[in-house]
């Protein structure tokens, strides 16, 4: 539709803005091309650099599919594959309904303390994943407070992995669903209510279809997050082996890069499937927020609100309590034999030569990643979703953007070593600097930000673009004055998400940090390895508090500044 409008030649005399003779299409195509180039550079080529190893032997000679044959004939594979699928499916089945109900309560009810509940559900995102493992060991481990609750089952195995993965994935799922539920057209519901439609029917025919895209995206995000995560299985998996720990063992244990690459390729399968299902779902998704939409604001309703409040409180408590115990553990002198409290564990210089320095590095990394990453991710998502030019390039960019989620950080990190440390690479000067950590972290967390941005953009009617085009307003003006402000909540969500993940990530950057750029999250791993569990929990607590502080700032900003920009949504 907007195509037709754009094709009308400018007559000049009627509307005489600045001379914009270079067509919007060319500008759009150039920008999409630039986006593709960046994504190829930060995602495509490093992955290719590693994956091409999968057809080489350890000496670097081409061996075709021999590695895959070796892997497939190793009995471990089937076991790990089944384990991985089982854990991922169970976690998804557990997390998605809960996250949906939670997001529903936050967006479509009048329960009190929504900000608090939102923050509570986000706690796992704020903490390094290692902390969720430590937290569960404090609570349910063999010396844990509530060991008896497991009724003889051991935490170290699928039980612990599923529990920890659920904690870890819940906020990711919730974030996407809140975005999906946040924007909706109130007129539909009002019409339905006026017609006396039952609540269940409204839920089934209006709410669910509107959120369908979010549910599908969230399911795939959770599934792939679980399948590719190696931190949790490593900490509390015991003997329960999964694909990601296989990759870790092959690479770090045996320096067998080709085999690690083979596992990396196997792990890419879910992402590729996700990409195609996503494309299919997208075709059937229509914009929820048309230009004439009226935002829905829920009315109080005692029974619904009470039920939801109970549910949300239970979930929030289950999420927050283990972390609170881990924080307490960081102040304990010698768990579990001497429970007196001390601040000694926070004097990191006793267990980490650079003391608090890694924390400052992490702050720097997270800040830069949030600013640069969010700009790139949101602009990229806009180009992919709203432009009409060069459809194949945009699909390619979308595909690249979906890839990182399926790539275990370890695989991506090694890819970066192979690509950016190659002698022929002119970008080699980046290696070993903070810049490479920033680039790598953006790439690593690209997908969820991309999906969040897309989900938010999809809900804005493309009529905005059409109208702008007919008014001869170029798309970048529409972007600046309409699209970006409408999506500001989602943009901030992405920024906070990226910031927090940059603070907590370990797996990819462990191969890339340099002598001056050691990160707090890596320091935690080192402290944990050295057995300084309490100090590790302490550093993790510091990270968590920083991230929570950023989140509070975000909420305040949301209220103070963007509250005004978003006022049009209320009547």
């Amino acid at each position: 539709m907007s195509d037709a409008v754009q094709e009308v030649p400018l007559t000049g005399s009627l509307v005489a803005p600045r001379p914009l003779r270079i067509g919007e299409r060319q500008v759009g195509a150039t920008l999409v091309l630039a986006l593709c180039a960046i994504l190829v550079l930060i995602i495509g080529l490093p992955l290719w650099a590693l994956l091409s190893k999968s057809v080489e032997n350890t000496e670097g000679h081409f061996v075709g599919l021999a590695n895959f044959v070796t892997y497939a004939t190793t009995p471990t594979l089937v076991a790990s594959l089944v384990n991985s699928l089982f854990v991922a499916a169970t976690t998804t089945a557990l997390v998605i309904p809960l996250a949906f109900a939670y997001a529903y309560a936050l967006c479509r009810s009048r329960i009190p303390g929504k900000g608090l509940f939102y923050a509570a559900a986000m706690v796992p995102v704020f903490a390094p994943s290692l902390l969720s493992g430590l937290a569960l060991i404090y609570v349910f481990g063999n010396q844990g407070l509530l060991k008896s609750w497991l009724m003889g089952a051991s935490l170290y195995g699928p039980v612990g992995v599923i529990a920890a993965e659920s904690l870890y994935c819940f906020p990711h799922a919730m974030l996407i669903m809140v975005t999906a539920l946040a924007l909706s057209d109130g007129r539909l519901r009002e019409a339905a209510e006026a017609l006396g439609t039952s609540r269940w029917r409204i839920f089934r025919t209006i709410t669910l279809p509107a959120a369908r895209y979010g549910v599908i995206s969230a399911s795939f995000v959770v599934f792939t997050l679980v399948i590719t995560d190696f931190g949790i299985p490593k900490v509390i998996g015991g003997q329960f082996s999964v694909l990601a720990t296989d990759a870790y063992r092959q690479v770090v244990g045996q320096q067998n890069f080709p085999m690690g690459a083979v596992v990396g390729i196997i792990l890419l399968v879910p992402a590729v499937i996700a990409f195609f299902i996503d494309r299919a779902a997208q075709k059937r998704q229509s914009a929820m927020l048309s230009a004439r939409a009226v935002p829905y604001s829920p009315k109080p309703e005692r029974r619904r609100d009470t039920v939801l409040l109970i549910l949300v409180s239970l979930v929030a408590f289950t999420i927050v309590a283990p972390y609170a115990i881990a924080v307490w553990g960081s102040f304990v002198r010698y768990w579990p034999y001497n429970l007196s409290l001390t601040l000694n564990n926070y004097d990191f210089s006793t267990v980490e030569p650079s003391g608090w320095e890694p924390y400052r590095n992490s702050l720097m990394l997270a800040g830069l990643t949030a600013i640069i990453g969010t700009t790139l991710i949101f602009c990229g998502a806009y180009l992919v979703e709203k432009l009409k030019a060069v459809p194949h390039l945009r699909a390619f960019a979308h595909f690249l953007a979906m890839l990182p989620m399926a790539v275990p950080g370890l695989v991506l990190g090694l890819g970066y070593v192979f690509f950016y440390n190659a002698i022929w690479n002119p970008l080699g000067f980046l290696y070993g600097t903070l810049a490479i950590l920033v680039i790598n972290t953006i790439a690593h967390f690209y997908t969820v930000g991309h999906i969040t941005a897309l989900t938010s953009l999809k809900q804005i009617d493309s009529e905005f673009e059409a109208v702008s085009a007919s008014l001869k307003v170029p798309f970048w003006t529409t972007f600046r004055r309409v699209t970006a402000p409408i999506c500001m909540p989602a943009i901030l969500d992405i920024a906070v998400y990226v910031f927090v993940n940059a603070m907590t990530t370990v797996s990819a950057v462990i191969f890339l940090y340099g002598a001056d750029t050691k990160l707090a999250s890596i320091a935690i791993v080192h402290m944990d390895e050295a057995g300084a569990v309490a100090s590790a929990a302490g550093m993790a607590t510091v990270i968590m508090l920083t991230a929570i502080a950023v989140k509070l700032l975000h909420i305040a900003l949301d209220r103070l500044v963007f509250g005004r920009l978003q006022r049009w949504r209320q009547r």
Partner: protein, 338 residues
């Protein structure tokens, strides 16, 4: 878009720490030393070689080895200090180490010198795989004195040991059993032990920490970790089984192609001095210099005597084969057992 990208690059380059010392030369050293050792090592090296400024890149043995090999086309390290000799043997085999025999190596104990020409690496200290036994959680199981004592049914699901594929300590134990008991007997022993193992952990010290905290009853782990956990007040016994224990050593070497060869050689010389050995002995009981001894409190008696006759090049050459066999036997059964 272009302009923000450019300004980001500027921001990044501003954020990257600049060169602080003009006259000092930065020597990048890859290491798997424990965190708390790095400060004193740096101070001692910089005192002995004033023109050097040591910058560490530290990680666990597996990670740092993988990283070094991944970077082999364009090495980023000038030296490697405090990494398992088996890793250095692999680097040597791949031709990544500079040939240099530091001054004074001939005075060191014989096992700590590279036995083969060309001379590339020098041993620093040795570590052993011992048994940490939690007496408070034992529930009637007698304190073991032999490896065979770990096979009793009362310990089923209560032993943790390092995974030999991801932990140097795990591999040195497996290699130790195979070398002392012989291949057939060694595998038979591990078959039995596997029945009692709760998990194979990816760290050489974590098993003892878990035993010390009562998470497990038995942790097979590094000797020094056992002593330090006991000193911190954990109710554990640190045991050298009577058949002897496997061991590995940490070593140092210069990376081939380093731009700072002259300074690296001086640092390598430092590594062979008595002063350096005194530093090693702060964390390891058994070190390269023959006249340095500093046994920590609660260190098991007779540890040096308990060290088996260990063939490091056997360990290096048979690593892939042993790990493949280990993986075939035990990882296929890696389903949750408890």
């Amino acid at each position: 878009m272009k302009s923000w990208f450019a300004s980001c690059l500027v921001a990044i380059s501003l954020a990257t720490p600049g060169i602080a010392y003009a006259q000092k030369t930065k020597v990048t050293i890859y290491t798997a030393l424990e965190n708390d050792q790095l400060g004193p090592f740096k101070a001692s090296i910089e005192k002995a070689v004033p023109e050097a400024e040591v910058v560490w890149v530290r990680d666990s043995t597996g990670v740092i080895t993988a990283r070094f090999l991944a970077e082999k086309d364009n090495p980023r390290a000038d030296m490697v200090i405090g990494l398992a000799a088996s890793s250095l043997l692999a680097f040597e085999k791949a031709g990544l180490l500079e040939t240099y025999k530091p001054a004074g190596v001939d005075k060191l104990k014989e096992p700590f010198r590279d036995p083969k020409e060309p001379y590339t690496w020098t041993g620093m200290d040795a570590y052993l795989g011992v048994v940490c036994f939690n007496t408070a959680e034992a529930k009637g199981v007698p304190v073991p004195s032999s490896w065979k004592d770990l096979l009793v049914p009362g310990l089923k699901g209560k032993i943790v040991m390092p995974h030999p594929a991801s932990s140097g300590t795990g591999y040195l134990m497996v290699a130790g059993w195979l070398q002392t008991m012989g291949e057939a007997e060694g595998w038979k022993f591990m078959d039995g032990l596997h029945e009692n193992i709760a998990a194979y952990l990816h760290s050489g010290s974590a098993p003892c920490v878990q035993a010390a905290r009562g998470e497990r009853v038995v942790g097979l782990a590094l000797d020094m970790r056992g002593a330090s956990e006991k000193t911190k007040g954990a109710p554990i016994e640190v045991i050298i089984p009577k058949e002897g224990v496997g061991w590995e050593m940490e070593a140092s070497a210069i990376v081939k192609g380093t731009k700072n060869l002259a300074i690296a050689k001086k640092v390598a010389d430092w590594g062979a001095t008595k002063e350096a050995s005194e530093l090693y002995s702060k964390t390891y009981a058994i070190v390269a210099a023959p006249d340095v001894k500093n046994t920590p409190p609660n260190y098991p008696a007779g540890a040096e005597a308990g060290m088996i006759k260990n063939d490091l090049s056997w360990m290096a050459e048979n690593r892939d084969r042993v790990l493949a066999e280990w993986s075939k036997r035990y990882e296929s059964k890696a389903a949750p057992k408890n």
